[in-house]
Amino acid sequence: MAEEVVLMKGNEAIAQAAIRCGADGYFGYPITPQSEVLETLAELKPWETTGMVVLQAESEVAAINMVYGGAGSGKMVMTSSSSPGVSLKQEGISYIAGAELPCLIVNVMRGGPGLGTIQPSQADYFQTVKGGGHGDYKLIALAPASVQEMTDFVALGFELAFKYRNPAIILADGVIGQMMEKVVLPAQKARRTEAEILEQCPWATTGKAKGRKPNIITSLELKPEAMEINNLRFQAKYRKIEENEVRFEEINCEDAEYLIIAFGSMARIGQKAMELAREQGIKVGILRPITLWPFPTKAIASYADKVKGMLVTELNAGQMIEDVRLAVNGKIKVEHFGRLGGIVPDPDEIVTALKETIIK
């Protein structure tokens, strides 16, 4: 397949990108608003073209453990789900992080808690960047704001996951999963051959070749001293990721007196709000974290001396705002604007919130 320009949904783009980047396997379970990922894969039948395995598991628990198995055997494997499903996957995610395996997880968030709603939300921010499962671990979290980024972040997610042997997650929301946009799909990349996998992943459980020691994938270590060493190794890796992989976008920040900090679909709405505010003479810029972890702490901190205040807009009750407040460390006013339960606000609601909470 050559490079192609098409109109499609964010969820469909995830499926297309997975095949085209040479993924070896997808394991998932249906849940709105992301079922199109599995549906699109089923329709495209990549097992007949690239040889990619696609399997509808019996549950999210099984799906993530299939990902654990596949990742442990050196393959490029992924899963996707939405909030309640991702909660079920947390056990497996913790195991994958503990065993230091590369994989890609996609969460197209919906409103909660509980069964909640099928409408868009960003309320799984804490779950994603602060843990979710048990133990001290981190996921490389990418937050797309367009269908193009849904496409691009599949390959990027895999690349970072393999670079650091760490699970990566695409944290999208229902808006990005469901909206249709023009997207450039990359040309088909070949899946890695068995020989390439054996060379690139000498740690993988592929069957003990003669002359090498058995490969053992485990997160178990009963001796506390050894477990502490494992954890220190994880933490050192996380510091390296924090140094090298922070990604964010800035629009109109140079002359800004106020900043909107937002990710995903809220950054798209924030962009319109910024335009409306500028028409009214309020100098607003927008900073959009692309990696939610590692968080663009330094970039945000650097604006604490330049702007008068920051409005953090999220589809939740105030989660990322905690990281923004930590970054500015009390130097300036940081307020929150959010809609809950799956409601997506209009841009002028954000302008009003900016005036009432920050500028007033």
Partner: protein, 254 residues
């Protein structure tokens, strides 16, 4: 004859499988886990699959199975081994993939993963050690605990009014379209060990020949959990476990 005269290579009739390393096993004396490990090592070796086998170890006493058999292993979360095995086998179809699971692992927290992997007909083998108790965590009740049998969480004996009935997972597995070979064995005597080995071999061969999924239950003892000597545990197993969990093949889709 002196000992030195007897211990000669030409007199050797029995040896440790080369896949078993010299690590001292953590299992209690008389535990069935060690015997079954040895059988698996022998079968892999006899099949010449040393470099093509991936084992999935469970949560439970056999969590450290990877310390004893020199093959590649993945350690799975409690009950999830069949899901882990499913993916590995699908992604590496020419590998021999098996799980090794206790009754708590397979018949309780992992019931869904077990039934669905078997029903999909995954070309894997599930080795199921049924000692009717949770060994590792200190002898709590398992789904397979017999009626009247005591455990630390049913200290007055399993009462069906409170705890429900023991679960016969192997009988369930035999009903599933996806299973090729379902059998129940034991390892308390030499003849039993020989039969169990044959069963494991057949299951592994089926896995490689794409016949569907295979379940080998081994009715086992847990002298620590049962609070018996190994000898008494074996006797108790024969008297109480075998009537409820009768040995033999339940399904063989030749």
């Amino acid at each position: 004859m002196t000992k030195e005269e007897i211990i000669k290579p030409e007199n050797l009739v029995y040896k440790k499988p080369t896949l078993m390393n010299d690590n001292a096993m953590h299992y209690c004396p008389g535990c069935s886990h060690g015997v079954v490990h040895k059988l698996i090592a022998e079968v892999i070796e006899e099949m010449g699959m040393e470099d093509k086998t991936v084992g999935i170890s469970p949560v439970g006493c056999a969590v450290f199975a990877y310390n004893y058999l020199d093959i590649d292993w993945q350690e799975a979360a409690h009950g999830r081994a069949p899901a882990v095995a499913t993916a590995i086998k699908r992604l590496w179809p020419d590998r021999l993939v098996f799980t090794y699971q206790g009754d708590g692992d397979l018949a309780c927290i992992g019931t869904a993963e077990t039934i669905h992997a078997l029903n999909r007909g995954e070309n894997i083998t599930i080795i199921f050690i049924n000692n009717a108790i949770y060994g590792m965590t200190g002898g709590q009740m398992a789904p397979t605990t017999l009626v009247g049998m005591k455990s630390s969480t049913c200290p007055y004996g399993r009462d069906v009014k409170i705890h429900g009935y023991p679960l016969k997972m192997t009988e369930i597995a035999a009903q599933l379209e996806g299973t090729a070979y379902v059998t129940r064995q034991s390892v308390q005597s030499v003849p039993a060990i020989r039969k169990a080995k044959k069963a494991i071999r057949k299951a592994f061969e089926n896995s490689m020949n794409g016949k569907g999924s295979n379940l080998v239950e081994i009715v086992s003892t847990c002298s620590s959990g049962w609070k018996m000597t190994p000898e008494k545990a074996n006797k108790w197993m024969e008297e109480h476990m075998f009537p409820f969990y009768p040995l033999g093949d339940l399904k063989d889709k030749e």
